[in-house]
Homo-oligomer: 452 residues x 2
């Protein structure tokens, strides 16, 4: 490790990515990569008709003249940089993508959106795509580990700021860059790292991730042609971890490289909203489903939550679907009224439904610093004076209660049906599960959209 | 002012930009805008054949299919977003562009590169272009004022981080956006603000400014179509001045808006390198020219400088032209050997010339905390034991000793000759000085490149 630190962590992780061999990736990690890509593809299909995607596509298509790359779920084709951005946007806009819990990075969006676009220009096998993806997530999450939790707490949108490195590293791997150019790609990425959490609740939040995907891909393309940069983008005196982080533990980036894999710590969401609300939703659904609490019998709902929940999701009066994704009050009300918290519960129509608004107004947020972040308590007081309570130590989809392959497949079906009803979901699932055997990874990407 | 602060500074500055009228811009500021654009155009022509531009163009042209916009000095055409980036790159790569001394922002590159690209899609008059440019610089520099000097000192590349706001505001003005959408454009810009000084000395340094131009233009195009964002991108709890700055004085953004103009404080460089070396170069050229110090008679050169000079330009052994632009030692050696410090003195060939390297090795940097940043002392000890000294309180090109219109015109001629020898420089100069009378600003832009 002394040696690695001396070389510099940027060069060290670049060398690791260059030298990594597919054969050395554990089977469980390979499988997790397929789960992550399947989950991501579903999110992209589910979000592909969102107004934000239409808007951004209208802008970019006026500039993009080359129909090089697939937009998930859509007829249109764009250049690969625009496709990376647009698939990044559509796969995050529903807030349904995956989460690396330690950092709260949503790891797949920036890396997969960049890689899938590139895989349509550079012929690669499914295994090469999976391998580059695994390495990209590794780089992204290790950088996040090195600066967490202070970086996120300071207001940085960590998926965007670390995601651009993941996208750059993954694309550098797919392009077969040498260690110096891979380090340059990371140096260019360090200088494109951007995005705060200050625009959450608007389309710009997902645009941060779109930009991370696009800029990471661009960084690799530039470095591949010899566009020079620093080789100390992470650790340099004015490098990423110095300028954008209050504290850093660079050893987190290199310790145990190749022996442990961050993708093994990935989780998938059963509900399309901010993850800190998930134990609350589990509790509400259990009270409704198992304890038969009817929405119209509720006097008030009291949520006992970690203080982070108010900070991230304390919007008591959301006015749009995007805002409601960061409103734990809305999540609770929707759960009791609709018995499910899916994409439909975050449409503007649902958010502005007077019945939902009325119940939302009865939700009380009780902060409890002793409550673990991953847990929540839900107490309902009914109009007849009785009370019921649920404590949820770990939400569905957490590492302790992971979504099964079958559950992920069901989620894919629902999302494909929502965004692209003509999708042959079963055929796509078969492709996704056999990605490591595909001789052309582009086949997977092209199957995600109608053929013109 | 209370009222402005209550509204929020992002909304306040957006409203100012929307409501500003060309008639209310003082004549001196209008003239300064023409000087700035002329200086900028010369820099773009001078840099247009740089290897970095060839490289970035090769990457972007594989994605860009629409020949919408002019690349200064070049035959190729690209889409407007790519043109904003590439003209931003070529106009900064020589390190010859302008400087807002209080913030060390190089104000014109991001704003002008974005605007000139847009002016080829949206028909506007020369006066409209100048007006939007003046407002963009105002927004960019006022935001810089609010967070200086801490933001730059922390390692942020302030021209990039503030430039993206200037580009967004200017393009929003040209597109005629309303106050809300202008604020959204600034919100999107806040989430694209990126770039550290850690890659200085490589191509990535200028790429930061290219990205600022491109992303600012994109922010305005997105907002124009209703892509939502925060309206508190600057002041919000997790807004730009909170997350990317250690200290902020938001009053700097709104105080005296419309009464004072930051463009009036703009300066232009006579030498294509980091500005803190300019008094040193003046001193060396005076010793050579007026005191007839011959390079081969020099025992050693001692530079008395503010400590910032070592931090920014203390590279004693540069190995490339780009590195030499941040080497005050190289600047001094080149001045004595060549009697001028122009573009040629920052080619790789000059930097690696053994005679230059030998004299460079005789330069001693003496930090003096009492030395004003804008001044320098140069002392030479000759081999015959004698010594000579010059003290330069203000460099050529500073606010105290500004470059005249004629000097700027000469600089343009030299730069055009360097990058695009076929340029009809006199005709272009005539267009530039009459920009406020042009009915089609695109005429100015198109004159900056060969007609295919």
């Amino acid at each position: 490790m002394d040696d690695l630190q001396q070389t510099g962590v940027t060069r060290a992780i670049a060398r690791f990515a260059v030298e990594s061999r597919w054969q050395s990736i554990p089977a469980a990690v390979r499988h997790e990569a397929k789960r992550a890509l399947l989950n991501w593809a579903g999110c992209a299909l589910g979000g592909c008709r969102d107004e934000s995607v239409d808007t951004a596509l209208a802008v970019l298509s006026e500039c993009s003249g080359r129909p090089q790359a697939t937009l998930f779920g859509r007829d249109e084709r764009t250049d690969i940089l625009s496709a990376a951005a647009l698939n990044g946007l559509s796969s995050n806009i529903l807030d349904f993508d995956d989460t690396h819990l330690r950092t709260v990075i949503h790891p797949t969006v920036p890396v997969a959106a960049a890689l899938c676009a590139l895989a349509e220009r550079v012929p690669v096998t499914g295994a090469q795509l999976l391998h580059a993806f695994i390495l990209g997530v590794e780089v992204e999450c290790r950088i996040g580990n090195a600066i967490s939790p202070e970086h996120y707490d300071a207001g940085w949108h960590i998926t965007a700021t670390c995601g651009v490195f993941g996208a750059a590293a993954a694309c550098a791997k797919l392009l077969g860059l040498d260690p110096q150019r891979t380090a340059w790609a990371l140096g260019i990425a360090a200088n494109q790292a951007a995005g705060t959490t200050g625009a959450h609740g608007s389309m710009t939040k997902s645009w941060n991730m779109a930009s991370a995907a696009r800029n990471g891909l661009l960084a690799a393309l530039l470095a591949a042609r010899g566009f020079t940069s620093t080789e100390q983008g992470l650790e340099g005196e004015r490098g990423f971890t110095r300028v954008l982080a209050q504290r850093r533990d660079l050893d987190e980036i290199t310790r145990g490289l190749g022996a442990s894999w961050e993708l093994a710590r990935n989780t998938y969401k059963p509900y399309p909203c901010g993850i800190v609300a998930h134990p609350v939703i589990d509790g509400c659904l259990a009270l409704r489903g198992e304890d038969r609490v009817a929405a119209d019998s509720i006097e008030r709902i009291e949520l006992r939550v970690h203080p982070l929940v108010r900070m991230l999701m304390g919007n008591a009066v959301p006015t749009s679907g995007l805002e409601a994704k960061l409103s734990v009050q809305h999540c609770a009300a929707a759960a009791f009224l609709h018995g499910q918290v899916g994409v439909r519960e975050f449409t503007d129509a649902c958010v502005n439904d007077p019945a939902v608004a009325a119940l939302r107004a009865r939700v009380i947020l009780a902060e409890d610093a002793a409550m673990p972040k991953e847990a929540a308590g839900v107490a309902v007081r009914l109009q007849d004076g009785s009370a019921l309570e649920r404590y949820v130590p770990h939400a569905t989809g957490s590492l302790e209660r992971p979504m099964s392959d079958a559950a992920l497949a069901r989620k894919f079906h629902v999302l494909a049906e929502w965004g692209w009803p003509q999708c042959d979901a079963s055929a796509f699932l078969a492709l996704a599960w056999s990605l490591d055997d595909l001789t052309d990874a582009g086949e997977f990407v092209r199957a995600a959209a109608p053929h013109p």
